[in-house]
Subunit: 406 residues, 2 copies
């Protein structure tokens, strides 16, 4: 006899089925069909950065090796090593434009994803309304669905400099829906957009007026391109006491393989997050936590080089994608993502292009991209790429995408 499995809670929640009508399948079914689709053996994966093209700073491995040799931090407080928190708090304060109490306002998390899960699990209950930009990082909506939250969509617009704004009407509509929490990535994943200062201020005003908690995922806040001005939402007046800011070394510094991130927020939220982290995996990996020892410390020159390297790839890729008939793309103002729109007649004969079919065609041509539906309704006809890649491979990917979409 085969056992009757209990029903997983919320893992197939309604909001993940939001595309059944449009695409004939749920988000998870679409994901599975893309994963199962055949591909040439030399598939180029643009769904995440290549840590061999942009390697972690040398301090990471050195710090890890020291931690291993010392062997005193295998077990740490659930919120992370106390000495490490004391060491990085001032540096984080400089980065975020505020002070950070290492004992009460700071937690080391299992990657920035672990911080997201912890803060949302700590704060969101079933039925709570959460305002979420459209498009947004796909895992945000999945965590919210898991928790039974109701998503209030906040449509965003990206200009041709890659800057993001939210229309007054859209902001008013979101306010009217009375969310309890605002969750956003900044720079925005998947567009690489950086919010205009006026929009950040409008979001802060909404948060204060409506007594919202704000969770801002700033994983990419150190990778900002020339010409864009980045405003830290949590540093605006009235925001420190209601904002949880997530950062980490997984992207700009290519240190995703260590699974560490940090979150800064009000003490009661950090305490609740710590309890979630303790349940979910006890703590961020003890030895790996120590790779933060020299993370983002006096590395202005390194960061300038890394940013310039990505900016050159961005410009190259924007040019290549725009040369495909019917494809448009805004140059990202930060991060290593872009979110092109395919509007050519071939893909648009039956209304808006089907981004699942686009991703399937691009995969058949040898490139794995993230289909637009993952990021929200506005992803229709779009796909996300991560251009933190080896230049030759990225150019080769551009050729394959061109052939798939032409």
């Amino acid at each position: 006899m085969s056992p009757t499995f209990l029903s997983p809670p919320s893992l197939d929640a309604a909001s993940l089925n939001r595309y059944v009508k449009t695409y004939g399948a749920s988000v998870l079914e679409l994901d599975r069909s893309l994963a199962a689709a055949p591909a040439p053996p030399d598939l180029i994966d643009l769904t995440h950065g290549d840590t061999r093209a942009f390697t972690p700073p040398a301090t990471a491995a050195a710090d890890f090796h020291s931690a291993l040799a010392e062997n005193t931090e295998a077990y740490t407080a659930y919120r992370g090593s106390s000495s490490l928190r004391a060491r990085i708090a001032p540096r984080l304060g400089d980065l975020l434009g505020r002070t950070v109490d290492p004992d009460r306002e700071l937690i080391v998390t299992p990657g920035t994803q672990g911080g997201l899960f912890a803060v949302l699990s700590a704060l969101v209950s079933s039925g709570d309304r959460v305002a979420l930009p459209d498009p947004e990082y796909f895992m945000n909506e999945r965590i919210l669905a898991y928790l039974g939250a109701v998503v209030v969509r906040l449509p965003i617009e990206q200009d041709d400099k890659g800057l993001l704004s939210i229309g007054a009407d859209n902001l008013a509509a979101a306010r009217a829906a009375r969310p309890r929490l605002l969750l956003l990535s900044h720079p925005n994943n998947p567009t690489g957009g950086v919010y205009e200062s006026s929009t950040i201020q409008a979001l802060a005003d909404m948060a204060v007026d409506e007594d919202l908690i704000v969770v801002v995922d700033q994983l990419y806040c150190r990778l900002i391109y020339a010409g864009a001005q980045y405003t830290h939402l949590g540093a605006l007046p009235g925001m420190i006491e209601r904002t949880v800011t997530l950062v980490g070394p997984s992207k700009t510094e290519s240190m995703s393989g260590y699974r560490v991130g940090v979150a800064v927020g009000p003490p009661p939220v950090v305490e609740a997050m710590e309890r979630v982290v303790s349940l979910a995996s006890l703590r961020a990996p003890g030895y790996c936590q120590q790779v933060l020892r020299h993370w983002a410390e006096d590395d202005a020159e390194w960061l300038t080089r890394r940013t310039a390297g990505h900016q050159a790839l961005r410009d190259l890729m924007v040019e290549r994608l725009r040369s495909i008939s019917g494809v448009s793309v805004a140059p990202p103002a930060g991060s290593s993502y872009m979110f092109p729109l395919v509007g050519s007649p071939r893909w648009a004969t039956n209304g808006p292009a089907d981004d699942h079919e686009i991703a399937m065609a691009i995969k058949a041509a040898g490139v794995l991209v993230s289909p637009g539906y993952q990021f929200g309704p506005s992803g229709r006809g779009r796909f996300r790429i991560n251009f933190s890649q080896d230049k030759k491979r990225l150019l080769s990917a551009a050729e394959r995408i061109t052939s798939a979409l032409s």
Copy 2:
């Protein structure tokens, strides 16, 4: 204005408040008061093993360094590196007495704790009844409380060889409560007990008869002392298709600082677990996963030495604790835990001894132990120690405990 925080879901669930009546405080308040209590500067921490006294096998660091140098596994499938799973599946099969399909039945988790959280989150919904031995690993009940499950207690008895059994009456009472799932650690944490084969068979019979899923945390299943026979619950007839077995290198091999574990179970459960892991932290740390490459591979000689080292400390500590008037302790048949009972008149004047006060007194004398209440109602008057320690420090701890309890 200070914001009104949303209520954390279930983090203060009723079952964690179960000691308010007996102790005047919730479990979490008791934990906090022990953490805040003053201690001498050279506090000896027996709440976990000392990874410097029993160091990880040399292959761990070597495998990690290889993974870092190769730098191809920073991003893996959410269920873990595909090549790694293929490599370790046969070895896991040998350990667990069954076959393991690396693609469908195996997931690499962020520590064994990450596996526990994933499997329980995937299977347990609010209101589900879950059978749990008393005493049990304290995080099991905390995860169940977080998920809103109802605990059905299964009292266990430990004989003077450290073997565990469950009385027929207690088993019948648990069955009558109609649980949907059985969750247990084996060897048992905190007692170090190994279940008698007949009890394991009775649990299997109950699972098959009642169509239960079984989650068995076998983190310590490689550290079994002379004279004890260990039965893998998931290898009994009818159990493969309903059992999720958790193992990992965090304890016997002292590799907790890498945060990796593995779970073996039915494909639909593994798939649901993968989705929880992806939400909670994406994946076990990519580089760290690779420390499993040579884990438990042809290490019989190493394991014999390690087991003998722990068995000597066990015998020493049992003797020291038993020499304290009023203290009794069963010698663990596996693991590096023991769970002594303090029944001396000094602690028993007002009914059963108060294990919170005992832990506070032991801390004041310079040793941190885990108070009995954490592990269930049967923890009254007990404390847990982990004797995987440097011998000198352990002897010094024994002296301090003696002075605190005498």
